[in-house]
């Protein structure tokens, strides 16, 4: 087994601020993901990475940057927070084979004032 940790659990920011979310996994998985979950909607993929220093854009990458400095960690940066934005950001990891199960972290809840 393994675990995914996300920091911080809650993030309150100001409009226009650059905000960074961090994710660590000890599954020894190659692939890591960042998803955004808005109330009443499904998850939308922001970025994913199939190995250290690799980055792949998802469907919602505009307004975000990501960084995979090492296999176990994956960071997401909101480049300019939007006023009244409220969402949960979920990190996940998996192997690289087809149909490998993705395991999710507890999430970071973002509120922009």
């Amino acid at each position: 087994g393994g675990i995914i940790t996300q920091t911080p659990k809650f993030l309150i920011g100001q409009e226009g601020q650059k905000l960074t979310l961090k994710c660590q996994q000890n599954f020894n998985h190659d692939t890591m993901y960042w998803y955004r979950q808005d109330s009443g909607k499904g998850l939308r993929l922001i970025y994913y990475s199939i190995t250290e220093n690799d980055l792949q854009k998802g469907d919602l990458s505009e307004g975000y940057d990501a960084s995979r400095e090492k296999k176990s960690s994956f960071s997401l940066t909101v480049t300019s927070a939007q006023k009244n934005e409220m969402a949960v950001f979920l990190c996940a990891s998996s192997g690289t084979g087809g149909a490998d199960t993705q395991y999710f972290g507890p999430g970071t809840r973002l509120l922009v004032l």
Binding site: G40, L43, T96, G98
Partner: protein, 116 residues
């Protein structure tokens, strides 16, 4: 393009009843299909997945799902339902085509309430 539709935003039923949550998908080939559950205040937990072979797959917590190619569906079932099954359920698709591996497309989810 690939998409997942969960047509029921909310489902309410009584404890002991049978539950079936609907999921349909659109994809040009046979997909990999997943169900995840999200309990209030928690993250997503994996329930089950369909890869190939037997069209009825069994997962954790007593859930099962049936893959039906004929109508592009992957409905989640459990009988009987328990109040502790109250949660939000997400259906997801992963494409088998090159470039699609590992990328999940999620439905909007179905919020299930099981009343004691």
């Amino acid at each position: 393009a690939q998409s997942v539709d969960q047509p029921d935003a909310h489902v309410t039923l009584s404890e002991g009843a049978s539950l079936e949550l609907r999921c349909s998908y659109s994809y040009s080939a046979a997909p990999y299909l997943f169900w995840y559950v999200q309990y209030p205040g928690q993250s997503l937990q994996f329930l089950l997945k369909y890869i190939t072979g037997d069209t009825v797959v069994k997962g954790t917590k007593g859930f099962e799902a049936e893959f039906r190619k004929s109508n592009s569906s992957f409905n989640l079932k459990k009988s009987p339902a328990h109040w502790s099954d109250s949660a939000k359920y997400f259906c997801a698709l992963e494409g088998r085509l090159s470039g699609s591996f590992n990328k999940l497309t999620f439905g909007a989810g179905t919020r299930l309430a099981v009343c004691p």
